[in-house]
C-alpha cells in the first residue's frame, strides 16, 4: 500500500514537472506582456526597464527554475491584468468551475448507469434504440451548439404556431410546441458564501436553477459516452462464462444483473470515467464562455486575450494538478474495489 502510494506520487510529480515545463515554455510564444501592461505613450526605455525588472530578459533555464521554486509555494507571480497574485485570482474563480463540474458529474452518474445498464439488458427494446440514437446525436453535436440550442429553448423560449391560434385546440397544440423560456443562462446568479473564496449555487433552488443549463450542456458529450461505455462493458460481461455459470446455478436474473454483472461492468468504467471527469475541468472553457459562467475557464480565455501570461500559466498548472490528483484518486479507488488488484508498487 505504501509502495503503491509512493509510486503514484512519483508519477504525479513527473507529470506535474512536464506540465510545468510545457506551460512555462509557451509563455515565450504568447505575445508581449509589456504591451498589455502599459499604455501606448510609455517610452521604449521605460519598457526595457520594466522588462528587466520582471526578469523577462533572463535565460530560459533561470526563468524556469525561479518559476518552479515559486510554484512549489503556489506562488506564480502577479497577474498583469488584476495586479494581484495569480493564485488568488484562480482560487476566486475555481469554486464556480468545480461546482459546475460537480453538478455535471452528478448528472452523468445519475443517468449513465441506469440507462447504460438498461440498454445492455434489453438491447433490442425501442427505448434502448432511442437512447443509443440520442446518444450518438449528443456526441456529435459540439458543446457550444448544444448550449445555444438549450438557451434558445429554455432561456429565451420559442413560439411555434403551425396551428390556427384562434381555435382552442390550435392554441393548445401550439402551446405544446412552444416554450416560455425563463431558465437562467447567464452567470451564477446570487450565490451563498460558504468559506474563503467559495460561494455556492447549491444553497437554494434559485441557485441550482443557474446550474441546470450549463451542466446539461457540459454533460452533453460526456453523458452519451458514459452510457455507451457502460452498455458496451455490460454487454460483454453478460456474455462471460461467470454470468452463464450464475444462470446455471439458478440465480435470479435481478441478482445476476445487479450483483454479478454490474460490479464487473463498473470496474473499467471507474478508470475511464474517473479520468474523463478529471478532464471535465478543462472542458468547461466552452460552456463557461457561452453561459458567462465566472469560472476558471472563462478567466483563462480572458487571460489569453489579455496576454496575462502569469495567469495563463497558473491556470495550466492548477488544472494540471487537479487532473493529476483525480487520476491518482481513481487509481486508488480502482485498487480498493477490484479484488484482483493488489495495491503494491509492483506491476500486476
Amino acid at each position: 500500500m505504501i509502495a503503491f502510494l509512493i509510486k503514484r506520487l512519483f508519477h504525479a510529480f513527473l507529470v506535474m514537472f512536464i506540465i510545468s515545463v510545457i506551460s512555462f515554455a509557451i509563455q515565450d510564444n504568447l505575445g508581449d506582456p509589456i504591451q498589455q501592461m502599459v499604455g501606448q505613450s510609455v517610452p521604449d526605455s521605460e519598457r526595457a526597464e520594466l522588462r528587466e525588472e520582471l526578469g523577462l530578459n533572463d535565460p530560459f533555464m533561470v526563468q524556469y527554475l525561479r518559476f518552479a521554486k515559486n510554484a512549489m509555494h503556489f506562488d506564480f507571480g502577479y497577474s498583469y491584468f488584476y495586479g494581484e497574485p495569480t493564485i488568488e485570482v484562480v482560487l476566486r474563480h475555481l469554486p464556480a468551475t468545480l461546482e459546475l463540474v460537480f453538478a455535471t458529474t452528478v448528472l452523468i452518474m445519475l443517468f449513465s448507469v441506469p440507462i447504460g445498464v438498461y440498454s445492455a439488458i434489453k438491447p433490442r427494446s425501442p427505448l434502448s434504440r432511442l437512447f443509443m440514437g440520442v446518444s450518438i446525436v449528443g456526441i456529435s453535436i459540439p458543446v457550444f451548439l448544444t448550449a445555444i440550442v438549450l438557451i434558445q429553448i429554455f432561456a429565451i423560449g420559442v413560439q411555434f404556431t403551425p396551428f390556427p391560434v384562434d381555435t382552442g385546440w390550435g392554441s393548445w397544440l401550439n402551446g405544446l410546441l412552444s416554450t416560455d423560456g425563463g431558465m437562467p443562462a447567464y452567470g451564477r446568479g446570487d450565490v451563498v458564501h460558504v468559506v474563503g473564496t467559495w460561494s455556492t449555487n447549491f444553497a437554494s433552488l434559485e441557485g441550482l436553477s443557474y446550474l441546470v443549463l450549463p451542466s446539461i450542456s457540459l454533460a452533453s458529450i460526456m453523458l452519451p459516452l458514459f452510457i455507451r461505455l457502460i452498455r458496451a462493458e455490460m454487454l460483454e460481461v453478460l456474455q462471460s462464462d461467470y454470468v452463464k455459470f450464475a444462470k446455471a446455478k439458478g440465480i435470479s436474473m435481478r441478482r445476476i444483473y445487479f450483483v454479478h454483472a454490474l460490479k464487473n461492468t463498473m470496474l473499467p468504467v471507474i478508470t475511464v470515467g474517473g479520468v474523463q471527469i478529471g478532464t471535465l475541468v478543462a472542458y468547461t472553457i466552452l460552456t463557461e464562455t457561452v453561459f458567462q459562467w465566472p469560472g476558471v475557464g472563462l478567466m483563462f480565455l480572458d487571460a489569453i486575450e489579455r496576454s496575462d501570461i502569469p495567469l495563463i500559466v497558473t491556470y495550466l498548472m492548477i488544472v494540471g494538478l487537479i487532473f493529476v490528483i483525480t487520476n491518482t484518486l481513481v487509481d486508488l479507488i480502482y485498487g480498493l474495489v477490484n479484488p484482483t488488484v493488489k495495491l503494491t508498487g509492483k506491476p500486476a
Partner: protein
C-alpha cells in the same frame, strides 16, 4: 421412466446468414445415478447440447423442436421461474474453464451461499456451514479460509474443485460436466476426474460427461454417445463401443488414439476435418471423410451422399450408418428390410 429424456432435439442459431443447425434430432436418456459420456470433435455441438439440457441456450440460439423431460417435467416449455428452481438445484453444471467460471469480484463464500439461498429458505450462517462441508468433501485445504478468498487467489485445479463443490451444493440429481478437465494441467486432470467420479458414485448423482478424451469416457461412464456435426451417430454401452465400434467415425476416433499407433509411426488420424455446422454435407455428414462410403468401383455410394442414415441396432448399440445397416441386415435375414426410419429409431432408443 428415465430421469432425463431428451428426444428429437433441434437447436438452431439464428444468424444473419441464416440458421445454423447446431443440434439435429438428438435423443438420449439418462437414468438415476447413471453416467453418460458425450464425445466428439470440437464444434460437434457438445457444449450446445450441455446448455440445452438446462434450457440455457442464449439468443440467437433457440430450441426449434424436440423435448427435454426431466423427472417427468417438460423443460422446453417451462416458465423461467420454474426453470430457475431446477438449475443448480436438481441439475447443475460444471464448465470447461475454471479460470473463467467464477465471478472475479465475488468471494468464493458469496458464490456458494447465493446458490443455496436461491433455492432454499436458509439463514446465511447455515448456508456457510453447508458450503464449508462441501469444500471438505472436495478436499480443499483450509476451507474456512477459502470462503473469504477471491477466485484469483486460487489455482485452476483448486477452482475446479470449488466449482464441483458448488455443483454438489444442493445435492442435485444430475451434473452436466462440459469438458471439466480440458483446461487443466495434465497432472491434475486425473485428480479432478477421480474426484468427480468418487462424488457422483457416493451421492448417487447421474453424470453427463462431455469430453473428447475417449480414455476418460471409458473409465468413468457406463454409456456413451458419439456426436458428429450436430448429430448423434452412435450410442450404446461404453465398453462395447470402445472395444468394438461400429460407426466408421467412431472407429476412426479410436484408431487415432496415441496408444493405437505403432511406435515410431504417425497417429492414425481421420483424413480431413469436421464440416462447420453452417454447411454440413447432404446425406451422411461424415461421408466425405469416410473410406467405407466408396464402393468397389471407387465411387461414393449414393445413399451415403444423399440419404441421412437412421439408427440401426447392432448388438447393444445404435449406429447411424448405411454401411452398418447393410451388414446388420445381411446377417439377420429375418429383419424387416423395409426402411421405416422413424419408428425404427424410436425402437432403437
Amino acid at each position: 421412466m428415465a430421469l432425463l429424456e431428451v428426444s428429437n432435439l433441434d437447436v438452431r442459431f439464428a444468424l444473419r446468414q441464416g440458421d445454423v443447425k447446431a443440434l439435429r434430432d438428438v435423443s438420449f436418456t439418462l437414468d438415476r445415478g447413471e453416467r453418460l459420456g458425450i464425445v466428439g470433435e470440437s464444434g460437434a455441438g457438445k457444449s450446445v447440447a450441455a446448455f440445452t439440457i438446462l434450457n440455457l441456450i442464449a439468443k440467437p440460439g433457440y430450441i426449434a423442436d424436440g423435448s427435454i423431460r426431466f423427472d417427468g417435467r417438460e423443460l422446453t416449455t417451462m416458465k423461467p421461474r420454474q426453470l430457475q428452481q431446477i438449475r443448480g438445484n436438481k441439475v447443475s453444471m460444471i464448465f470447461q474453464d475454471p479460470m473463467m467460471t467464477l465471478n472475479p469480484v465475488l468471494t468464493i463464500g458469496e458464490q456458494m451461499i447465493e446458490c443455496l439461498k436461491a433455492h432454499r429458505r436458509i439463514r446465511r450462517r447455515d448456508a456457510r456451514e453447508i458450503a464449508l462441508n462441501k469444500l471438505h468433501q472436495v478436499y480443499i485445504p483450509s476451507p474456512e479460509r477459502r470462503l473469504d478468498q477471491y477466485p484469483h487467489e486460487l489455482s485452476g485445479g483448486m477452482r475446479q474443485r470449488i466449482i464441483i463443490a458448488i455443483a454438489l451444493l444442493l445435492d442435485p440429481d444430475v451434473i452436466v460436466a462440459d469438458e471439466p478437465t480440458t483446461a487443466l494441467d495434465v497432472t491434475i486432470q486425473a485428480e479432478i476426474m477421480e474426484l468427480l467420479l468418487e462424488l457422483c458414485e457416493k451421492h448417487n448423482v447421474a453424470l453427463i460427461l462431455i469430453t473428447h478424451d475417449l480414455g476418460v469416457v471409458s473409465q468413468v461412464t457406463q454409456r456413451m454417445l458419439v456426436m458428429y456435426a450436430g448429430r448423434v451417430i452412435e450410442q450404446g454401452p461404453t465398453r462395447e463401443i470402445i472395444n468394438d465400434a461400429e460407426h466408421p467415425y467412431t472407429q476412426g476416433l479410436i484408431n487415432a488414439l496415441p496408444q493405437m499407433a505403432t511406435p515410431g509411426q504417425r497417429l492414425n488420424q481421420i483424413p480431413g476435418s469436421m464440416p462447420s455446422l453452417a454447411n454440413t454435407p447432404p446425406g451422411c455428414a461424415f461421408h466425405p471423410r469416410c473410406s467405407f462410403s466408396v464402393d468397389a468401383n471407387g465411387e461414393r455410394r449414393r445413399d451415403c451422399r444423399e440419404v441421412i442414415p437412421t439408427f440401426v441396432r447392432s448388438g447393444n448399440c445404435d449406429v447411424a450408418c448405411h454401411m452398418v445397416r447393410e451388414l446388420v441386415e445381411r446377417h439377420s435375414p429375418e429383419h424387416d428390410a423395409s426402411d421405416n426410419g422413424p419408428s425404427e429409431k424410436r425402437e432403437a432408443l
